[in-house]
Assembly symmetry: none
Homo-oligomer: 227 residues x 4
Amino acid sequence: MVKSIIDRPRPRPGEPEDRLVPSPAKNRDLIQEKRRRIVAGATRVFFEKGFHRTTIREIALASGMSMGQLYHYISSKDDILFLVYEHMQALWFDHLATSGIEEIADPGQRLTRALRCTLEFIGQHKDLFLFIYTETKYLDRKHLRVVLAMDDRNVVGFWRRLILDVGWAGDELEFAANLVSFLMVFLVLRGWNLEHGGRGRDLDDLIDFTLRGLGLLGERSRDGGPR
Amino acid sequence: MVKSIIDRPRPRPGEPEDRLVPSPAKNRDLIQEKRRRIVAGATRVFFEKGFHRTTIREIALASGMSMGQLYHYISSKDDILFLVYEHMQALWFDHLATSGIEEIADPGQRLTRALRCTLEFIGQHKDLFLFIYTETKYLDRKHLRVVLAMDDRNVVGFWRRLILDVGWAGDELEFAANLVSFLMVFLVLRGWNLEHGGRGRDLDDLIDFTLRGLGLLGERSRDGGPR
Amino acid sequence: MVKSIIDRPRPRPGEPEDRLVPSPAKNRDLIQEKRRRIVAGATRVFFEKGFHRTTIREIALASGMSMGQLYHYISSKDDILFLVYEHMQALWFDHLATSGIEEIADPGQRLTRALRCTLEFIGQHKDLFLFIYTETKYLDRKHLRVVLAMDDRNVVGFWRRLILDVGWAGDELEFAANLVSFLMVFLVLRGWNLEHGGRGRDLDDLIDFTLRGLGLLGERSRDGGPR
Amino acid sequence: MVKSIIDRPRPRPGEPEDRLVPSPAKNRDLIQEKRRRIVAGATRVFFEKGFHRTTIREIALASGMSMGQLYHYISSKDDILFLVYEHMQALWFDHLATSGIEEIADPGQRLTRALRCTLEFIGQHKDLFLFIYTETKYLDRKHLRVVLAMDDRNVVGFWRRLILDVGWAGDELEFAANLVSFLMVFLVLRGWNLEHGGRGRDLDDLIDFTLRGLGLLGERSRDGGPR
DNA sequence: GATGAATGAGGCTTCATTCAT
DNA sequence: AATGAATGAAGCCTCATTCAT
């Protein structure tokens, strides 16, 4: 069961990534290493100027590569957006994998913990999420299809399983899993006008709201509930 | 009190819009009329290709204007994005104003009605909201500042007042109002993977979830609650 | 002889100006009045932004006219440049005419006085001269020909006559008259790096230099010479 | 002392030119070579139509480059104007450097020789000087500041030193150096109405006039004087 | 005579991608 | 495998002039 919750999607040879982000390079490890640098460099500039306003030249510079080299490991600007997305998911899964969620026996507590764990992670990568959630739609059709599938399988799927465990069923499961997935980025996407209060509270409040919305927390109170 | 809930923000002479979207044209009515056409034309093409991929030439064509004429009534591509945003808010306020919300005496029922009313409106303008919520960040700093202020005052402010009426207070009010505002676009932003089920249910489910999350609905049940 | 020195060139009906700057308007006085306003408005904006960077719209605004009205009294942007030039010459001649130069019997003193008088005038209209001496070349061929002819007849001609009176002759006369004409704008065209010293001296120094260059002042000394 | 008179200002790495005319190109030699071609091509078309009426496309064509390539080596149209200016100064200094001026021991003869040498040079590059002296003012503030500084340092500075050597001093030095600098372009800027006479004479006449104006030539005579 | 909205060609600049070295 | 120079199609915006009212 553990495996079914956190199932980090590493692309394997011959798998989607290869078809989506083709490269003439032979050495698979080198490709991985270079792409890591590309993602690292690209995000840095993307966060400042957004996807459209960032030029390939700037990405190459930030990645410490020449433009020729860059195009040796990717084949279009869109590819980079896709790699960033993939990178985000990998990071998230790694975070979850080391959080001990899987060892929690009680479904309610496991869900609560997953929420907190995810929110903490997102809070640590605000820029990344802000970026992804506003730029993803600009992927070309080909990449977009895959990203949406990844999101449904990995992210929504993750919540689907956890919610299923607390006893949900039917059509509403799909609804609930998507909604939770959506709520997780609330603080980041709306963060700008929540600056005033105690940061810590927001996180608890959001978890409470989510659980209560799901009907897992009786009445409004920040002290009670299965944590 | 009625007035304080729905307070449609029409720009007056000398008001923000004039400074933000300057035009050499003298006739204010003509400006309004032409800008209406620009917004209508622009949204049509924006929905298809997104802001960045849409050219000014296409906008002019879709608006039935020459490029020169277009630039007689706006002064940059960003202006158009801003006008679209403004248009959305005006539409929303008009919708609320004719919905009879203000006549509902009970605060809980009024909130519920406002939620439904807003969701219906957003549902009728999916393209518009999908577009706005992913492109707004690309406004230049000048326009962005105003848009965020408008959102806080008009949209968040609307929920703030309604939530206040049901007995909330303190820091959480801000949190709650923003969260509700955020939830309203859930169906639109995530709509793509909720296609399967009965469409009608989603709306009710989201209202329930929201009210329950706010602690205004006792237990999970799709039959109960103040509708 | 007096007349031959200062011969203010007022265009008469059917004269050059009419052919060069056509207008459908009938009332000659009205044309004059409107054009005065155009020149006044245009120079104001020209001085700030230069000819090319100033738009017709700005000129209309600065002249307190509509664009339609503007084009009723001129027929191209170049026309305005031409009118400005003409205006400058008219101003200069008026200045000379009221300076009493003509009454000075001694040719040397008359020349000296004319130099000073011109320099003072130019000093009072720095912007105008700076503008004219860098933009004139942008006149279209038709206007340019006339402007050059006017300059040769009125400005160079003015110096030609004065220099002739002090006893010059031959080919050198042409050379000298042109050179003096050229020297008069030195302070304005180069003024920027002569800011330090006493402004008053520059004027005297330039007169001395000119007279000495012409061989009309024995040795270098700012005290001697026919003033 | 020799060195202090003709000090051709070649831009070095990290020097002004780099900041003023940025380029993404790496190879410095290639930049030099390409810019040489740009200047050569640009001047050819500038001379015909002036700066404002010449399009970037025409410059690219005349330089034998694509527009993309052109913008690889400059970053705005103004840059080109600046490069032309710089080119003119480099040419002039080269001309002076090979003229043997520095070997002339007598200050008066050295000055006279410098005047002639400069006039000959200007005469050989009429178009260039005519162009530069009427377009410089259209440089944007950033470039203009540098151009004026260059002129003051290189051109005016050159005359300043020569005049100093013949025994001038004080405030008048500045005045005299600027005036001489100004007089050098007289023939070019006014050339159009000196076409008739013997061309050769003009040059001598101007030198005489200048020296006499400076008080270095006793009386008016075209035979005497230190040549 | 007056108004100012409308035209539309053309200006400068950018940049993802390719390819010779 | 690596480099970075080269391409050229668009992109956004301007503005002198005309013309319907």
